[in-house]
């Protein structure tokens, strides 16, 4: 007969020790460096993995329970939002283009983050680090799933949402966020942690999530807002992981400091370039503005980031390079980016437009040093021409930066009237860059960046047409063929907001919801 033994309840600390650190062991059949083959090649020296401090002491069983609760609440709200036609409560249909940008450009990165953390979680010899990466990996796949669910609701009513998995791999502007993450995921495990765990999740995350989540709240999009709040507790954990990771590397060996510094320089720049898209969204795409890009940069980077780098100074870490240039450019990049999407609206899966008079005045007030002088004249000119039926559609393909893959739209440090051109020669070929930051990154690892899949060059090589398409046929419509390859519906997904199907449908449906017609 079995003896009934009173089960001893484990304390939090004990339970944590048993369910995380105790799960690891040193291998004997194979040497540890063969089991963890990526642990050393980046030059980071770790002497004692047990010094890793787990920021959250969360165990897997508690993780599942907690996340399931959160997810249940989130889906209840997403369902209610869908059933009540919540999409008709947004400020105006232009707002939906901000969601298109997010779901096409950012959600796939959530999935890549899932893969990335799963990958590095396998590669770190330290158990605590591995468990933390596993949890973040799961967080990220949950984020991508909930975002896909949120998107499926918009996809029922609006254009441009229907094929984000193809588009992220093909569409010219989506190569910007995609190549950013491809760069991180093909780096070693330590660089990945600085790239995504620290630079993106810690230093820059507020610049991504606050604008979108507050933007959603300001513009009546409860679904997206709820997702944002639900993800917040995960984000807090991610930020702590990123910070712990960098401190751990810096404390383990002074020789790690210059390596980590270079990664900070690189990934602050890479992240900043991707955030150009967010800046443009804030300044141009939210019918009800939250704050300007410039204000967000000042609060979330200059103030908060400044405090962080003061704190890291004791390890010999300095703030990222090129901050002077970034400080100058905060008056310009959002306008330059919106102008780019206005130029190439024919090849885009969201709509663009010229701001209203009120919006132009808001921009003048937020950007007294730049808007009226450099950007208002071109926007007003475009608006005039559009009124005459001569809307500007740039149909010639732009030159791209080899590193960030953004068209060469950025201007010289200190001179917003001159495009910034930089180039390097490597093995007898020229490579071009939008900035000193992007050139620096290339020059340090040219073998990596010569492989960039640059959409414009790929089109010219004939790699962006569907099978069977003959580009030598008489009267061949190259742009049309490329849009087919992108799976973009011409006249629905692309072109100006004015006159778009989205605009007409939203007006009609909102009319039905609010008037007796």
């Amino acid at each position: 007969m079995d003896m009934q033994v009173a089960k001893k309840k484990l304390g939090l600390k004990e339970r944590y020790a048993l369910m995380t650190r105790d799960l690891g062991w040193d291998t004997t059949y194979q040497p540890m460096n063969k089991v963890f083959p990526q642990a050393e090649y980046e030059g980071i020296k770790i002497h004692d993995w047990s010094k890793w401090e787990d920021p959250f002491r969360l165990t897997m069983d508690a993780y599942w329970k907690y996340q399931a609760e959160k997810e249940k609440k989130l889906y209840a709200i997403i369902d209610a939002y869908a059933q009540n036609n919540g999409h008709l409560n947004v400020t105006d249909a232009r707002y939906i283009n901000a969601i298109k940008l997010f779901l096409n450009g950012i959600s796939p990165l959530e999935y890549m983050a899932h893969r990335g953390f799963a990958g590095v979680g396998r590669q770190f010899p330290g158990v605590g680090t591995r468990v933390a990466c596993l949890m973040q990996s799961l967080d990220e796949i949950r984020h991508s799933q909930t975002q896909i669910h949120a998107m499926s609701n918009y996809n029922k009513y609006y254009n441009g949402f229907h094929d984000y998995t193809t588009m992220i791999q093909r569409v010219w502007y989506l190569s910007v966020p995609r190549s950013f993450f491809d760069d991180a995921i093909t780096a070693g495990p330590f660089e990945f942690m600085i790239a995504i765990g620290f630079s993106f999740e810690y230093v820059l995350t507020n610049l991504l999530f606050v604008p979108f989540v507050s933007g959603a709240a300001y513009n009546g999009d409860m679904g997206t807002m709820t997702f944002g709040f639900s993800a917040q507790s995960d984000e807090a954990r991610h930020m702590t992981l990123g910070l712990e990771c960098i401190k751990f590397m810096l404390e383990q060996d002074p020789a790690n400091v210059p390596i980590v510094q270079r990664w900070i320089d690189k990934w602050a720049w890479r992240g900043y370039r991707v955030l150009t898209l967010v800046g443009m969204m804030m300044d141009y795409m939210l019918p009800k503005r939250v704050m300007s890009w410039k204000e967000a940069w000042e609060i979330y980077f200059e103030e908060n980031g400044g405090a962080l780098f003061n704190d890291l100074a004791r390890y010999g870490i300095r703030p990222p390079k090129f901050l002077d240039q970034i400080a100058f450019d905060k008056d310009h990049i959002s306008h330059q980016a919106w102008g780019t999407f206005y130029n190439y609206a024919a090849a885009c899966n969201f709509h663009s437009w010229t701001p209203t008079d009120d919006e132009m005045d808001w921009l003048s007030a937020k950007y007294p040093n730049s808007f009226d002088k450099y950007y208002r004249p071109r926007l007003e000119h475009w608006r005039e021409e559009a009124k005459k039926g001569n809307r500007f559609y740039n149909k010639t393909l732009p030159m791209l930066c080899q590193t960030c893959q953004i068209p060469m739209i950025f201007t010289e440090p200190g001179d917003p009237t001159k495009i910034c051109y930089r180039e390097s020669d490597y093995k007898g070929t020229k490579y071009h860059f939008c900035s000193d930051g992007c050139k620096d990154i290339f020059d340090h690892e040219p073998e990596k960046y010569i492989q960039s899949w640059l959409p414009v060059h790929q089109i010219y090589q004939g790699n962006c047409f569907n099978p069977g398409v003959d580009p030598t046929a008489p009267g061949f419509d190259a742009l049309g063929a490329v849009l087919d390859y992108y799976n973009m519906a011409v006249g629905r997904d692309n072109l100006d907001f004015e006159g778009s199907e989205d605009q007409k449908n939203f007006e009609a449906w909102r009319g039905m919801a609010t008037k007796n017609i």
Partner: protein, 119 residues
């Protein structure tokens, strides 16, 4: 060291000249006219006359701008990789020394875009 890697690693340049079916890339930017958000990229045969680029291709790319029709081509200043440069319109790209992925810019003195904003 061209890259951090666990073993010998060689990348593939995706934009080798031979991938462009007999063309080479030429990038062209118009100074002080940033209404065109970035310089353009074109695939041209190296034997193409440089003047044909100006006369037959660029109007389609830049012609939307009200300044385009006002350009006095005899006064235009040219730059190659940022250095002053004097193209011969009658000669080919190759004869003008233009190689794959070269970048040229032109400045049109007196023309500074929409309301002088360099747009």
């Amino acid at each position: 060291m061209g890259v951090a890697a666990i073993k010998e690693y060689v990348g593939e340049n995706k934009d080798r000249l031979e991938n462009f079916h007999g063309n080479q890339l030429l990038y062209v930017g118009w100074e002080d006219h940033l209404m065109f958000c970035a310089p353009f990229a074109f695939p041209f045969p190296p034997a193409m006359r440089f003047g044909d680029v100006i006369e037959k291709v660029l109007p389609g790319a830049f012609g939307y701008h009200p300044d385009w029709a006002k350009i006095d081509w005899s006064k235009v200043e040219w730059f190659k990789s940022g250095q002053p440069w004097a193209p011969n319109f009658a000669k080919s790209l190759a004869e003008n020394g233009l190689r794959h992925k070269d970048v040229v810019r032109f400045r049109t003195p007196g023309l500074t875009g929409i309301k002088g904003s360099c747009s």
